[in-house]
Amino acid sequence: MTVDALAAILLIPAVSAAILALMPDYRPTAAINVAASLFTFLTALSLFVIRPVSGPYLLVDDLNKVFIVLTTFIGFTTSVFSASYIGHEIAVGRLTPAFVRFYHAMYQTLMFALNLALVANNIGLMWVAVEVATLTTVLMVGMYRTHEALEAAWKYFILGSVGIALALFGTILVYMAARPVIGEGLDAMVWTVLVKRASAFDPALLNVAFVFLLLGYGTKVGLAPLHAWLPDAHAEGPTPISAVLSGLLLNVALYALLRFKMILAASTATIAPGPLMVVMGLISVIFASLMLYRRRDIKRMFAYSSIEHMGIIVFAFGMGGPLANLAGLLHMTMHSLTKSAIFFAVGHIAQVKGTQKIDDIGGLTVTNPVLGWGLMLGVVAIVGLPPLGIFMSEFLVISSTFARAPWLAAILVLGILIALGGLFMRTNVVMFGEPKGITKPTEASYVPMFAHLALVCMAGIYLPPALVSGFTSVARLLG
């Protein structure tokens, strides 16, 4: 029974992907997509009740339990959103039925890959999963077939592939480090085993390995200066994919990084992870925040804000310590909820106003109050204003690091402030003033967006103890 829950999380998307791919008719695909995502989510929920035993290939522990549920949940809400979104796209003829079928199949494949990456206990398997996820997202980003879309997809593809290659090299190195201790064969790639024995590994080799892993998976995470693919991929692809990219893919890549960091943390002699992550995190925060000011495309702007937040999270994990790690985990959760909500809103806006250009959108709170204030709330959340969740995590990061490393914390604060300025400067144009341009009616469903925002709002005020206890135990492991 227990294994079934775990298997189901992988099987449901895989099977439904196959079904969707083979479907003759495109109309029911959206519904099937939603249903499949819902079932995956429900099975994932069952993990809270009964924990399956983890084998050499799959595992469930405190760390990924939460992320599985989060991923499947956002997968579900996004599928709901994408149903209405894609419906509109067909209506205006931007997508042909064939593409719609293909899109939904890809969507489920992506879900499968993400879940696999999360539950994989074998670092090789994890790598494969991330690669598959990359490929599917590449295909989806390029789906509109416009020059911009193709260019974005191609850039994403090349940079992603290089990243994958580097990550694989890192994985091999980890295996090399583990082999003398654990011996040849499968065990030397099983994460649980690795963590147990990590203290005996050759620290120097692990350091080099981590450099490659940081660069490899960091490319997926979108850390500057490896970020180049991220803004365009977000801006040019279908909005549900932007939501999934920011909300899930970045998280999964970061999750992979965390797994390896835990190995390094377990072995005392290693130095690499902390400083490296802190530096890259700070660079990303400052860089991304500064990039916000000149953005003209609303989706690209929020893509940069994702880079900034990934920077904050990586900084938190780099600083380490129970509080900072907890904050990092919290921030991952909050960010993926908020950012996907924001992309939902942006998707609707782009459909209502028929453009993504910030300067062509204006007075949204007048023309579409619900949508406008929804996005406003999302922006307020993402810049880290209370009483929403991200404020809590940022509070924890900053306050827990300032006493230890004042200057680093100060730089982080500066970055957060710059980002706030940039985001508000641009969103003011969208939200307020005289309405601009045309306003098409839309039959969008605001449920997913407000569901996410409600969760974020609640988390800012009250965190369920279960979540916290899980996170704190993980935070301790993260060192």
Partner: protein
């Protein structure tokens, strides 16, 4: 274990690095492709040799894939593509070759230092293999960076990936090697198809910003 198998493995790996250098040196596409075929061939040999000395039969599969897919199918199809795209006669105005070679040497030195300094524990064969693999990877990246042409960038990437396979096979008893090499072949196939479908030549990679802006979601 300084025996014949070590020397052969060493020799093959060294040849791979040498092939990478040759690729670095080539500035005409057809020649580049030929050298890449050679590169893949050497890889296949070394993988096979590893399979032999580690008596790990599944590695023969990897070797076979490398031989057929990389040494034959890919180069041939790429030849077709460049002929169709009409860029087979182009001389690439890359960064000057001399400079690139110097950089390459530097990279090899770096990888040697990195690997040999940090892996005193691992057995000699693995160390050598890793060192060579790393230099092949870095050289592959260097090729990608110094070439303007999408096709030659792809070639660079494939050589990089050869380096990875070398490392993977060198790592004694590493599981999933076959799967990984398969996965990579799929990846490369995608890339090649991508080039073929979207007629991607240097247009996305032109330094001419006018041309670039046409394909940019966001104007300056």
């Amino acid at each position: 274990m300084h025996g014949i198998e070590f020397d052969v493995a060493h020799m093959l790996a060294g040849t791979l690095v040498l092939a990478s250098f040759m690729m670095l040196y080539q500035d005409r596409l057809p020649a580049l492709l030929n050298v890449y075929a050679l590169h893949a061939l050497v890889l296949a040999l070394s993988v096979a040799w590893q399979a032999f000395i580690q008596d790990a039969p599944h590695l023969y599969v990897t070797a076979f894939i490398a031989l057929t897919f990389k040494a034959i199918i890919i180069p041939v199809s790429l030849h077709r593509i460049i002929v169709r795209l009409g860029i087979h006669r182009e001389i690439e105005t890359a960064v000057s070759v001399g400079l690139t070679m110097l950089a390459g040497i530097g990279l090899v030195a770096l990888s040697m230092v990195v690997m040999l300094r940090i892996t005193p524990g691992a057995d000699a064969l693995a160390r050598e293999d890793l060192a060579f693999a790393l230099s092949v990877v870095l050289l592959g990246l260097l090729i990608m960076v110094t070439r303007r042409n999408a096709v030659s960038q792809v070639v660079g990437f494939m050589s990089l990936e050869n380096g990875l396979v070398l490392a993977a096979t060198g790592a004694k008893g590493m599981p999933l090697v076959v799967e990984i090499s398969v996965a990579f072949s799929v990846l490369i196939a995608f890339i090649v198809i991508g080039i073929f479908l979207f007629r991607i030549r240097e247009r996305f990679d032109s330094v001419d910003l006018q041309a670039l802006d046409r394909f940019r979601g966001e104007r300056r």
